[in-house]
Amino acid sequence: MLKVQDLCARSPNETLSGISFEVPNGQILAVVGRSDSGKHLLGEVLAGKGHIISGEIQANSYRHRTHRQKIQIQTGYLANPVELEEFLTGFELLDLIGSLYHLAPKDRSRMIESLATALDLGSYLYGVIELASLATRQKIGLAAALIHSPRIIILDEPAQYLDFVGQELVEKLMLDHAREGSSIVMITNNLELAERLADEIIVLDQGQKILEGTLQQLINQTKSHTRSLKGVMETVLGHA
């Protein structure tokens, strides 16, 4: 379970002001909003990358202030954009990340094989990342975020650069992890993906949470004219 209370943070482009939410085990929370609404910064802060001004992050029994490392090791983070070590092959990178998480060689081998199959990496796993397509890089980045079977998963635009087949694979992988009990925070501009996968959705605007609930609750709250997340966003944030 991931619990965030009154979180305030700042980066050169984004701010977060008093954000609170909770993601129970096995649930997917989608964070949506305009560009620079603070959702990217939220992902960084949850992954332990950004600096927190005030507020509290709690992962099950661990509090960020006292057990930061214990939270971080149980967190998997897909950055946006994902920047991987270009000189390594996908396999080598996953092996390196797995070993840094203290996974035994046998476990690493099993996890790499499992993730490569789930994401249909095929022979691209053994190609140098420098030569890989954006879609392959995205898949390798996602595999690296999940190699240690984290219980808190923060994914910033997990399906970007992927075709419809790749998106389906990522969706299935996320649902599998949720089924196994992980709490997933998905930061995305892909509203259809959020609709399909999220148990709950929060809408950020200028660093503040302006809406929270299931899709149905958001539609009811905003009295949106169309029964979609896009309609909700247009109602509360206005047209482009």
Binding site: N25, E44, A47, G48, K49, N60, S61, Q69, K70, Q72, I73, Q74, T75, G76, Y77, A79, V82, E83, L84, E85, F87, L88, T89, F91, E92, D95, L96, I97, G98, S99, L100, Y101, H102, L103, A104, P105, K106, R108, S109, I112, S123, Y124, Y126, G127, V128, L131, A132, G141, A144, A145, H148, S149, P150, R151, G181
Partner: protein, 362 residues
Amino acid sequence: MLKSSARYWQIRAGQSLSKATGLDYFLVLLLGCLLYLIGRSWVGSTIESPGVILLTMINVGLGVGILALWVILLWRLPFWLAIGSLILTIWWLTTSPIISTLLEHTAQPEIYSQLLVLLTGLGGLGAISALAQLTNGYKSGRPSKYWLVLNHKSPLPSYSGLGSLVIMGFLRILRDRIFVAVLIFLTLMLLAKISGWAIPGSWLTIVITGIMTLSVMISRKLGPLASSLLTNFPGLPTTKGAIDFALGITSLVIVAALSWTILFGLLGLTATDTLWLTGIFLVGQISITLIARSSRESAELGLLGGWWIVIIQLSALAIIYQIMWQFNLSGVMLILLVVLSLFVALTSYQEPTHSATISSTW
């Protein structure tokens, strides 16, 4: 029939190669030790200095390795092209004055000659690696199955990640085209000098300039790696200091292999000098690490997994130095043993302070 047979052997060679280059360190180490012992008993009767014996063995191994890599490289070409290239290679090897000069130097029981052959061999290895890049479909953008003949498909035997980082550091250097190009250039200069061509500059100028250039490139390549890893994977249970430490070891190994050997040969550094240099460097590195560990955050992360492991490792290193001191082994031998002991220390199992496996409290 012939084609299918060639294909069969191509596949077999590929599988063997995958196994052989799967970085199975213990096997390689074992074979290396055996080869060394056999070689020592064979060569030892005519050459007195253990440093020269070691260098001779390394050079012979390097030569055999380069030839084997070349054959493996040819194996990936179409069958008749591979056979043609092989015949051409054999003809060149048997008639080239460069090769005969190199063989003469290899047979010389002098450290100076052995160092020249070593540098030339390293350059040759770089050249073969560069060719491997081209034949791996690097230009065409196809995923390469065997990248620089070092692509491995099974996990490294590292539990703490630091051993993996050392290997990745090596790959970072070996896969840099500019580094390979500089290495080839240095080799060509040495080859030209060996062949008696009028190259401006003394041996010392060429070697020192080359090594300095390579050292700067190594630092520039490995420096940003820690920040890059931690930016993209902030949850990794390690610190920038720990990653820098592992990559520092990588730099040390590469630079030491090139420069300390040369300094030992050309400037006449004694084994005792090298011992002190190595000792001072390692004590410095370990002291910095221990001081860093005293802060609360570093202590929580645990660079080496616990104080007792640090004490054991320090004791092991002290014993190794004591043995080296007592037996008065050469600097080259000492460096090799230090590198091996560090490698073993870094890749051996270390109890993590945090486990990535989730406890039942979840």
